[in-house]
């Protein structure tokens, strides 16, 4: 599994009812259901991802996240997960509200625009960064709302959400000590676990 998914795996409690937004090929839900008896649905819009989910036996719904989560009632999930999709949404802030409506707890991962390599790319070379976590050119990228580790923390504070855990992913590894100390600079992938206040 991808480094950020490995970390998320550890954060998901046994037997949880989970909604996985932008679940990709369903590998996380599949692993969670087999090893941790997790139930729930994945939402995906990419045809190949969707077929891969069906093939694995993951319950997957073709759904555009920009249309909100209207099909899902309040407080019906233990956990809502969204990996690498926040930056591609029209209104990430509204999605965060929706996520915290269907579940009390959420796990969100996204590429950290303030990662030092991105800063170098933009600061020294003067071009929009292209990297492993941001692989597209500026003109054809689905990532329309790039943000930083700090930006997201700020949004959570504004919304009165509790940050239960934060972590960073760097490349294929879980992160060097430097990324734990200065996540905004050394974290390539930002990983947050947030909770609605009771």
């Amino acid at each position: 599994m991808r480094a950020d998914l490995e970390l998320i795996y550890d954060w998901v409690p046994e037997g949880a009812h989970v909604l996985d937004l932008a679940c990709g090929d369903g590998v996380l839900l599949d692993t969670l259901s087999r090893r941790k008896q997790v139930t729930g649905y994945g939402l995906e819009i990419d045809p190949d991802g969707l077929t891969a989910c069906v093939s694995r036996g993951v319950s997957v719904i073709e759904h555009n996240l920009d249309d909100g989560l209207g099909s899902f009632a309040d407080n019906t999930y233990d956990l809502v997960i969204m990996t690498q999709a926040l930056q591609a949404l029209r209104r990430p802030d509204r999605m965060l509200d929706e996520m915290m409506r269907v579940a009390r707890e959420g796990i969100i991962t996204f590429p950290n625009f303030a990662y030092w390599r991105h800063r170098v790319y933009l600061g020294i070379r003067g071009y929009m960064p292209v990297s492993k976590s941001l692989p597209h050119a500026w003109y054809d990228t689905p990532n329309i709302h790039l943000s930083t580790f700090n930006d997201f923390e700020h949004l959570c504070r504004e919304k009165g959400l509790m940050i239960v855990d934060r972590a960073v992913g760097v490349g294929d590894h879980r992160g060097h000590w430097s990324s734990r100390l200065w996540p905004n600079l050394f974290g390539e992938i930002a990983i947050f676990r947030v909770r609605r206040r009771p």
């Binding site: 077929t51 069906v54 093939s55 993951v58 099909s71």
Partner: protein, 393 residues
């Protein structure tokens, strides 16, 4: 229904189930119907493809749509021009792989392709049933299909699969016999018709009933056929099965000759096409059956007895679902499939949903669109894998 590029006069492709022979199952146990009447005895005509395994666990039921019947795949004879109506999806290597599955497809009660219906003799009167044939509903069909399963020694279907009206039967299976279906595949269907759908059906029925040759449904005894009515009914239906794009692409505003003739003969290609489809249908389909089947469509509404709460209606279902819709289907648009998916989610049932981008409208469910095949095959492969079905080589 779409044309197939394969004809039986050429050697049959490896992906065809080949030559098939319909069979008849006779039932003497009276069947109580939703309308309150009882069918004392009846026949069901069916076909099977593939091999039933020793555990009898690999059977797949195919439920047919409005004008469909038991002949879903393969050919009846070497000269048959077209294979069965769902040949694109049933056969070796296809979505419903007959190397894995034993496929059962039948003609529903009230049909006009061999199963007991309005053209069969009424044992009480000795006359043809005609308009006296009792109204059959989706739940009656499913009950009769369960008896066919008993007859074939199939306790549980690996999957029940159907498109359009067939999808409604699959839904009914999951609610009426939850322990007898391991998987449900509901394609281009809806949990209940909209007012617009019912309106189209009513236009079709009025076209038939107002034909002077209809004789209140006793046309069989009068040795007439309400062909004009059937033709109109089919023309209306056909318009709703295609998308505007598909029609525009196929015909545009093309004229049959260069000059306008300012009359009511066929001038546009689309007129010619609809008349041809209508004519062909009016010689092969029974008018009373068309009336019955459109009524069965109208009546289907499992949520009704639960105060409109579809999630509650679906509570008994025990199996995973695959729901598929097509972007340009305006007969049963994606929003109607989504209604079903949302109800399944709210009932906490395992469900996967794909909305396939296709230009072909409602008819898309009969076609081998690559993305549709990919999802459908992936699901059926998973069904086979979960059952531990060995590959038959």
């Amino acid at each position: 229904m779409p044309d197939s590029s394969v004809t039986a006069s050429e050697p049959l492709p490896r992906s065809s189930v080949g030559l098939v022979t319909p069979q008849i199952a006779h039932f003497d146990t009276p069947l109580p119907l939703a309308c309150g009447k009882v069918l004392p005895a009846y026949d069901l005509v069916y076909e099977t493809y593939g091999t039933l395994n020793a555990e009898r666990s690999n059977a797949v039921l195919i439920c047919h749509a409005l004008s469909g019947h038991h002949h879903a795949a393969g050919y009846h004879s070497a000269d048959e021009a077209k294979p069965g109506w769902w040949d694109a999806h049933i056969g070796p290597g296809k979505s419903i792989d007959t190397d894995h599955f034993f496929v059962v497809s039948l003609n529903n009660l009230g049909g006009c392709h061999g199963s007991t219906g309005p053209t069969s003799p009424n044992p009480e009167t000795g006359r043809q049933w005609g308009p006296d044939f009792p109204m059959v509903t989706v739940s009656d069909w499913v009950k009769s299909q369960a008896r066919l399963a008993d007859h074939l020694g199939i306790e549980r279907f690996a999957a029940a699969v159907g498109g359009s009206l067939g999808g409604m039967q699959v839904l009914q299976w999951t609610m009426a016999y939850p322990e007898r279906v391991a998987n449900a595949v509901v394609i281009a269907a809806t949990p209940r018709l909209s007012a617009q759908n019912i309106a189209f059906n009513e236009v079709a029925r009025q076209a038939i009933r107002s034909d002077t040759e209809f004789h209140d449904g006793w046309y069989g005894e009068q040795h007439t056929v309400p062909k004009r009515g059937l033709k109109l009914a089919r023309m209306v239906g056909h318009i709703t099965y295609l998308s505007e794009d598909a029609m525009g692409h196929k015909f545009g505003r093309d004229l049959r000759s260069e000059d306008l003739n300012f009359g009511y003969d066929v001038e546009f290609q689309v007129e010619s096409y609809l008349r041809y489809q209508g004519d062909a249908f009016s010689t092969t389909f029974d008018a009373n059956t068309y009336l019955l089947m459109t009524k069965a469509l109208d009546y289907f509404d499992p949520a009704a007895i639960h105060g409109g709460d579809l999630a509650r209606a679906l509570a008994p279902a025990q199996c995973p679902f695959l729901v598929v819709s097509f972007t340009t289907d305006w007969r049963f648009p994606p929003s109607r499939s989504r209604e079903l998916v949302d109800a399944l989610i709210s009932a906490g049932k395992p469900v996967s949903y794909a909305n396939i981008d296709s230009p072909h409208g409602h008819d898309a469910f009969l076609l081998p669109e690559p993305r549709y095949c990919a999802v459908f095959s992936a699901y059926m492969n998973r069904v086979a894998r979960d059952l531990g079905l060995p590959e038959i080589s």
